[in-house]
Amino acid sequence: MTDDRIALPSYLDKPPEVAAYFEAIEKRKVVLNIEHLRREFAAAEGTLVALSDISFKVRKREFISVIGPSGCGKSTLIRIVAGLEDPSAGTVSVDGVPVAGPGPDRGMVFQNYTLFPWLTVRKNVLFGPKMKGTRNDKALASADEWLKMVGLSDFADVYPAQLSGGMKQRVAIARALANDPRILLMDEPFGALDAQTRCSMQEHLLRIWEAADVTVLFITHDLDEAIYLSDRIVVLGARPGRILEIIDVPVSRPRSQEQLLSGHFLATKKRLEELIYRRDTAAAAEDVTHA
């Protein structure tokens, strides 16, 4: 058998422009700080540790993905950051202020769209400003701007039921961003979309992220998606959910689809596969021997 594998660079060695990019990030302010986060659930066979000692920082305008096998607690993590669940121990702080419950400083995009079906697209986007009591004409202008940004100006007066999945998710992104959050939390936002739509949504999201002043914490189980979008990737292992490694993505920006086949991209993907799948199978084998 011939070995036709390509020699890949190490995922750890960054091209000079990428190294400079990361240096610049390091100088920015920390927006989200997660410290020693732990989450336990009461289960029939005792307490189940969903998350154990999770700590990382997200700096301003950074795009961070959290990736891991199913059951690693990545959704629990983002729900704790959003304030929808409480941690068992540890703290989450935004701009140095510990969070207690959900708030408009952490906008969230959910996998199942969660648009308000009784509101038109524009009124969905206006929901946050309206709750805050922002003046109507000012909010309206900003809402229309965000709709233009996600390419849905023509659908402003349409109800969500009339939109496709990708369009709904674009509205959800516009709705979260129109509220001017400090950080945008995205919980597998493209998980329910078909492959083509998912691809174009990634493009959309990158363009928005580049154009607007947004910090993103992105949950996914799709390796390509994580590498393609992120500056850094937090890799979680399962049982208990813990950080295996935080990877600086050595792929230069601005990103394009061609980079999916670049050496640095593939090297990163290989490393992620090692971390997630190998460990997964190893853990499974371990489970079997224990049983």
């Binding site: 969230m108 969660t114 079906p117 009784w118 509101l119 309206k130 979260a176 509220n179």
Partner: protein, 360 residues
């Protein structure tokens, strides 16, 4: 655009395959005609039993009793009476044995099964003929009384039941506080409170309204609370991450989210109110359509009895269809029917700029 079975043009198929598909929606034309059939079939069955001789017709309307001097077990058969067919035959056997003149008559249905044309006539004449006894109510007066009792009973029930139900569906605290007791009372049939209601509220309309209230209120709290709980929790989460506080969550997410469901609940509960009406109207001083039916039955005017029953059905059906139609316009996000919304928007645009800002 998404595939919508309502508007998709079906491939031409055999009628039977087309009409009898498993969970396959009918095309609009078949829908209409099958709907017509729903009423036409029972009506045709009624006509057949009434007009086609020998389908049933178990009695004989005696036209001529024959020689009534002939004694016998069945000598009570007299002119103008309805007697069972076997009695009539037995009487003729007696008359035949005595070589006397035989009785004649025509086979008819019992008095309680009136033919369509008789009920139709009654429907018309009931509105035009004065009541038999002075002081009795006309049919339209009875109908109005019934509608008033239903309206007020349901009004009070909804006024308290809907907010309480929404409260229970929103806050588990109130659910735990109210629902166990409501569940307990719900199993007591409303009519058992009739005597009590008369003692407390007198003989007039109030106890009847109270019975309808009791009959619908407790069910309403539970149904409304269930519908409210069915509002997608992820919408609440989304609203919270958009900065909605507790009050805003209730008013801007829970209430609008539950509204179409609540509207459907109310349509169903109005039907229940009508079932309690009949009991309610017979307590204290009899009133409304039930009193009318009761009286007509005593006069053996069964055509009028049917007329009144049909009227209840027609009023119920019309109310429901009207509410269904209204619902299509009220909740455009579910039906895509935006005519009303567009009208409201146009009216808003016509308002001066200042008022518009204050309103939106």
């Amino acid at each position: 655009m998404k595939y919508d079975p309502e508007t998709a043009i079906p491939v031409a198929r055999e009628p039977l395959t087309r009409l009898l598909g498993v969970r396959k929606p009918l095309d609009p034309r078949s829908r209409f005609w099958v709907g017509v059939l729903a009423f036409a079939l029972p009506f045709l069955a009624w006509c057949a039993v009434s007009y086609v001789p020998f389908i049933w017709h178990p009695q004989v309307l005696v036209a001529d009793a024959g020689d009534s001097t002939v004694p016998g077990e069945y000598s009570y058969v007299a002119e103008g009476e309805r007697v069972d067919l076997d009695v009539f035959i037995a009487r003729n056997r007696e008359l035949g044995a005595a070589h006397a003149k035989r009785a004649t008559g025509e086979r008819v249905n019992p008095i309680y099964l009136q033919a369509p044309h008789e009920v139709g006539r009654a429907l018309y004449t009931a509105f035009t003929t004065p009541p038999e006894r002075a002081g009795d109510y006309w049919l339209h007066e009875s109908l109005l009384q019934s509608c008033k009792v239903i309206f007020w009973g349901f009004f009070w029930s909804a006024l308290f039941g809907v907010p309480l139900g929404v409260l229970c569906g929103t806050f588990p605290f109130f659910e735990r506080l109210f629902e166990p007791f409501v569940d307990f009372v719900r199993y007591m049939p409303a009519p058992v409170f009739g005597a009590l209601a008369v003692t407390v509220l007198g003989l007039a309309e109030e106890p009847k309204i109270a019975v309808i209230f009791i009959g619908t209120f407790f069910q309403m709290v539970l149904i409304v609370s269930n519908t409210t709980r069915a509002v997608d929790a992820s919408l609440l989460h989304a609203a919270q991450t958009l900065g909605a506080n507790k009050r805003q969550l209730v008013w801007h997410v829970v209430v609008p989210g539950a509204l179409p469901g609540l509207y459907r609940d109310m349509r169903i509960l109005i039907g229940w109110a009508w079932t309690y009406l009949v009991v309610a109207e017979l307590i204290g001083e009899k009133s409304g359509l039930s009193a009318f039916i009761y009286q007509q039955q005593r006069y053996r005017h069964f055509d009028n009895v049917y007329a009144a029953i049909v009227i209840i059905g027609v009023v119920g059906l019309c109310t429901d269809q009207f509410l269904a139609l209204l619902g299509r316009y009220l909740f455009p996000w579910e039906t895509g029917q935006t005519k009303l919304v567009r009208m409201v928007r146009a009216m808003r645009r016509a308002l001066p700029q200042r008022a518009r800002l204050a309103n939106t």
